[in-house]
Symmetry: C2
Subunit: 166 residues, 2 copies
Amino acid sequence: MELKEAKAEFIQAWGTLGNSWGINRTMSQIHALLIVSNEPLSTEDIMEQLKVSRGNVNMNTRALMDWGLVKKQLIPGERKEYFTAGKDINEVARQIAKERKRREVEPILDVIKSLEDVKGKDAETEEFKKVLSELGDFTGKVNSALDKFVRSDRNWFTKTVMRLMT
Amino acid sequence: MELKEAKAEFIQAWGTLGNSWGINRTMSQIHALLIVSNEPLSTEDIMEQLKVSRGNVNMNTRALMDWGLVKKQLIPGERKEYFTAGKDINEVARQIAKERKRREVEPILDVIKSLEDVKGKDAETEEFKKVLSELGDFTGKVNSALDKFVRSDRNWFTKTVMRLMT
DNA sequence: ACTATGTTTCATTATTTATTGAAAGTTTAG
DNA sequence: CTAAACTTTCAATAAATAATGAAACATAGT
C-alpha cells in the first residue's frame, strides 16, 4: 500500500471510531490528519485534504484546541495559522481521559450524589438507594482511576497494564 | 425528593450520559428504567413511562438484549413479554466493556495492523509507521485490559483500583 | 486610512440518526 | 380454523447534529 493511501485509510478509520464514541467525525479526522502529517497544516491544507469547508475546519480545530489535543503554531514570516497535534499516543489518551472525566464522569457523579437524599424508608426506596450507592461507588472508582491515569507519568499505563496482566 | 421524581431524574441523566458516549438516548433510558424498577416491565409499561412508541421500545429492548444488558422474562400465565435488567453494576460494566471491545476496539486494531505493511523506506513512511506502531501498542494494551476486566471475577475492578491507588 | 490577507461567526442547508405508527407477522386459546 | 393478543418490521417522518458559505471581523503592511 502507498503511504498516501495508508494515511487516508487511517484518517477514515479514526473518524469512524471517534464517531461511535460520540465525537464528531470531522473533528476526529482533523486530529488524525494532523497526527500523520509531518509539517504543521494551515486551515486551507485541512480544507483541501478532507474536503470540508473553512467554517467547519475552524470550529473543529477550535474544539480540538479546547480538548488540548491540537495547538496553533506560528510560522515566522507567515500570516497564516498552522496547526499541529501531539504524536505521543499516551499523551493523547491522557488528554482525552481528562476531558471526558471532567465533562461526563464528574457530572454523573454529582447527579448520583444529589439523588441519594431521596426520602422514604420503604423497601422500594431502599432498593433504589442501594442501586444508586453501588453505582456511585463504581463511578467514583472509574473517576479515581482516570484521575490517576491523567496525573501519572508517561509510562504509568504501560507499567500498570503489565502489572495487571500478570 | 420523592422516589418517583428521583427515579425520573436518574433516567434522564443516564440517557444523557449514554448519548454523549454514542449510545442512543432511548436505549440508555430503557436500561435505566429497568434498573430502577422492582418488577419486570412490559413493552407497554415502558412506552407509557418514557412516552415513546411501541416500535422504538421494541428496537431498543432488542439492542439491549444484544448487548446482554436486558433479558426477557416470561411471567407464568401472562402472554405479554416482560423485561428485566441486571442490577449488579459491575456486571453491567463488564457487559458494556465486552461489547465495545468487540465492536470498536478490535476493529481499529485490525485496521492499524493492516496498515503496518505500507511500503516505502523514506523518513516520512518511517514516521508514519512509528505512529502506527505506538498506537497499535497502546490499543493492544487497552484491549488486554478490557479483556482482563471482562473475564475477571466480580470484584476484580474494585481490588485493582485499590491496588493502583496505593 | 485603505487594502490585502486571513479568521471567526452564525443563519441556512444538508446529512445523519432516531422515532413513529400502521401493516404484516406470530402465537395462543377456544 | 379463527379471532384475539401481542410482537416485529419498515417506509415515512421528525429531530438532532454537522457542514456550508458568505458576511462580519481582525490585523498587518503600505
